[in-house]
């Protein structure tokens, strides 16, 4: 018996959220005696990167180096993971919640006749049955979910467990799987991605701007502060709707949901739909010139003031701290 972990990678590096999933799997295995934690990497990625799963808690890493799996092709990833799962004789699969992870996990649940629970925020409780706490209503509530199938897939939300960094290094073993043409029914023709930027859903610090910034030409202030904080940049829905910023930066109910340690909102009033995307943040700072902005009610710290005046000072103060 073992716990399998699906690793995602981008720009040649295993994603931090996937390493967190490994740490979750390790904690789960320790708690329930669920056996070895085996992480699986798909496509072209170097062994040194895969070995990081060892420090996060895996005892072994399997690598399916098939070049065609480097791109996140949903069906192909699901078929590859299903085969590895069966070969290893796993009982549980853990993965980080993401746009690719969700899609792969859904197909895997049917392939493996497994119960899939998404947005998992804590380790399972097994004192009576097998219960998992998951976030619902876009972070506005939790559901204690009873799982009634033998095989389980858990898609873990960011910050569900602390990332483990003291594990032993794990050996990387090459394995191969049989994939059919049908697994590659979708062809990726182009990828348009900002290279080297901190990925918004993964970021530990996020600086977001709203309509209070008055125009896309003023985003330099947001970017400068973000750079000082090592943060990703986000925006409100109106800002992406009018095209000041690309859609993948839209934070909120129908956009990206973030769970950083620190979320800084500048010139965003705090509509309930925006709050739904940030309510898992550990600490929220709001800067808005309107003292009545509803965002202040959801904030830990606030400054009532004009963004154009406060932002440069804040950037300087952060710089001075270093």
């Amino acid at each position: 018996m073992s716990v399998l972990v699906y690793l995602e990678h981008a720009d040649g590096a295993v994603k931090k959220s996937s390493l967190e999933a490994v740490s979750y799997a390790k904690a789960l295995s320790d708690k329930l005696g669920a056996g070895d934690v085996v992480a699986v990497g798909l496509g072209s990625i170097v062994n040194d990167e895969l070995a990081k799963a060892g420090t996060a808690g895996a005892s072994k890493v399997l690598h399916v180096s098939d070049e065609r799996l480097t791109a996140g092709i949903i069906q192909a990833h699901a078929s590859a993971m299903a085969e590895v799962y069966k070969n290893v004789g796993a009982s549980t699969l853990v993965l980080a919640k993401s746009s690719l992870g969700d899609a792969v996990a859904a197909r895997l649940a049917v392939k493996l006749n497994a119960a899939l629970v998404s947005n998992v925020v804590e380790l399972p409780e097994t004192s009576a049955g097998y219960q998992v706490k998951r976030s619902i209503y876009t972070g506005k509530a939790f559901a204690i979910t009873e799982v009634t199938k033998e095989h389980k897939i858990l898609a873990v939300k960011k910050n569900a467990v602390d990332l483990k960094t003291d594990g032993a290094s794990a050996a990387v073993e090459a394995v191969s799987v049989n994939l059919s043409d049908a697994d590659f029914a979708g062809k990726i023709t182009a990828t348009d991605k900002a290279e080297g930027d901190i990925l918004l859903p993964e970021a530990d610090v996020v600086v977001s701007g709203g309509r209070g910034l008055k125009g896309p030409e003023n985003w330099g202030m947001i970017e400068t502060l973000a750079k000082e904080l090592g943060a990703a940049t986000g925006c409100s829905k109106p800002v992406s709707d009018i095209g000041w910023r690309p859609h993948h930066e839209h934070v909120g109910q129908t956009g990206v949901k973030v769970a950083p340690t620190l979320y800084v909102a500048v010139g965003i009033s705090g509509a309930i739909q925006h709050l739904a995307g940030v309510n898992s943040s550990k600490c929220i700072v709001v800067i808005n010139k309107d003292p009545e902005a509803p965002f202040f009610k959801a904030a830990d710290y606030g400054i009532v003031g004009d963004a154009f005046e406060v932002l440069p000072k804040l950037t300087e103060a952060v710089k001075a701290l270093k």
């Binding site: 859904a106 197909r107 990726i188 830990d300 710290y301 004009d306 001075a320």
Partner: protein, 245 residues
Amino acid sequence: MKILVCITHVPDTTSKIQFTDNNTKFDKNGVQFIIGPYDDYALARAVELKEQLGGSLTVLNVGEADTEPTLRKALAIGADDAIRVNAHPTDSLFVANQIAHIAKSNGYELILMGRESIDFNGGMVHGMVGEILGMPSFSPVMKLEIDGDTVKMAREIEGGKEQLEAKLPLIAGCQEPIAEWKIPNMRGIMSARTKPLQVVDPVSDEVATSVSNFQLPPAKGAVKLIDKDNVEELVKLLKNEAKVL
């Protein structure tokens, strides 16, 4: 082209989320229900595709009788007919089995739905239906165009997007900006009243999960306000008090 759009019936995004019966039931009191916002994007794109290519557009919901106004709204927006699977949507697997069964007997070429429901946020149903039917599934899809039997899509990935191509039939979980939400006009609302709405029984009662109870997050403490001329104080608090820097 034969299109199926699957919609959820969910609380309006501004709703206060509360539970009753010892935290085992969602409190519907004072809550307005809407077509899931992501499903609404899928529906809007389906209406555009039908206008462009002809064919039929069916809208489907798995839910009890109280979801019918939501289905009527979808008819008013432009669907030709509606199907309601008369059952409480217990979990994703249950819903996926219902959709797959209906899709199998009706031969839809394109099945669209939202990337996820905004109540349970699972984002699983499209993938499950795809796997049950042996059809490719894609999500989250932010652009979808039909060129003969080829579907050209853009899928959002972390930090950007990828362009994809696949052949019909397929399933897509949609999100903005695939299309603009459509507001029903008077003619649509009038015609929706007489469009067919078929009620069918569920085919399987298999579930993989059930909810034992609900919890609300702990209440947030009051905001600490810092003077705008003393920004250094904020940085100090973030470092020493909140310990996030």
